[in-house]
């Protein structure tokens, strides 16, 4: 049942990914010892207590999972404070931005969303608008505390997630 050869890894040892070979030598040693113990005790206990498996979680996977949870919590926290509507490319929206450089909040920004990048709390949208005859693209973090209010004015039908072709077409889908 359990192979006792030193070089190979016993079947009872749980190996998660082949890349984790470095640590699994240590695991395999420990795995061998416990499986020996259980082998002796197994014929005695007819009740099926299976051989204790040693499970090791990959630490980087655990860390990534914790980061995901933290990210989701941060997004939830921002959503409870402010109402942020669902914004997709092709929407024409109007934002109220607060500019902290000793000015009052004013700054209404109105433009068409040409891209949206989902990254948890750092979700950004790209807005394109015409200001004083010059085309301007701004990249704004959606959950930034400077963004005070978002209002959707219009929704255009687009067949794409990133509308970079509008850079050549300037006036096609107006601000």
């Amino acid at each position: 049942m359990f192979t006792k050869s030193y070089g190979s890894l016993p079947a009872s040892c749980k190996i998660t990914k082949p890349g984790f070979f470095l640590g699994s030598h240590i695991l395999s040693n420990r795995g061998i010892t416990t499986s020996n113990v259980s082998q002796n005790s197994d014929p005695e206990n007819a009740s099926a207590t299976p051989a204790p498996r040693i499970k090791f979680k990959r630490l980087d996977k655990t860390a990534r999972h914790i980061m995901q949870i933290l990210d989701r919590e941060a997004v939830e926290e921002v959503r409870t404070q402010r109402e942020i509507p669902d914004i997709r490319p092709g929407y024409i929206i109007q934002l109220r931005l607060e500019v902290p450089e000793n000015k009052r909040r004013v700054s209404t920004v109105k433009g068409i969303v040409i891209a949206r990048r989902n990254a948890g709390v750092n979700t950004t949208i790209r807005l394109r608008r015409m200001v004083a005859g010059v085309g301007i693209e701004s990249l704004l973090p959606l959950y930034s505390p400077n963004v005070k209010e978002i209002e959707i004015l219009d929704k255009k039908k687009v067949r794409r997630a990133k509308l970079y072709y509008l850079r050549d077409k300037m006036n096609a889908l107006k601000k």
């Binding site: 500019v99 902290p100 450089e101 750092n122 950004t124 200001v131 004083a132 005859g133 010059v134 085309g135 301007i136 693209e137 701004s138 990249l139 704004l140 973090p141 930034s144 400077n146 850079r167």
Partner: protein, 122 residues
């Protein structure tokens, strides 16, 4: 990212229409210029009957670039063209009007006169 041989639009009414960058003022061997940097430029195209003429060497400050300008609050601004405002040795603009949107960063670099003339400050 403006470098020598870059053509820039002119964002004021000083008489020039297009500039070509020759040199970036600042540290020697500086590769690129961004918004707020002063460059030496030659006038490639000018409006007739104005004090500034073609193939005159002037100084200019860059006000708009196609390369993004990053801010500390995570916002990034990207214009659709490269543009500059012609200035004199002290940093005062030679023209009387400025066209197009100007970035707010120019105020910190002591170009407040240009910022005050701007129709829209971003």
């Amino acid at each position: 990212m403006i470098q020598p041989q870059t053509h820039l639009n002119v964002a004021d009414n000083s008489g020039a229409r297009e500039l070509m960058c020759i040199r970036i003022i600042g540290a020697s061997n500086r590769r690129y210029a961004h918004i707020g940097d002063v460059i030496v430029a030659v006038i490639k195209d000018a409006v007739p009957n104005m004090p500034l003429e073609r193939s005159e060497v002037v100084r200019a400050v860059i006000v708009r670039t196609c390369k993004e300008l990053k801010r500390d609050n995570g916002m990034i601004i990207r214009y659709d063209d490269n543009a500059a405002v012609v200035i004199d040795q002290e940093g005062n603009p030679k023209g009387t009007r400025v066209f197009g949107a100007i970035a707010r960063e120019l105020r910190q670099i002591n170009f407040s006169k240009i910022v005050s003339l701007a129709p829209e400050v971003l």
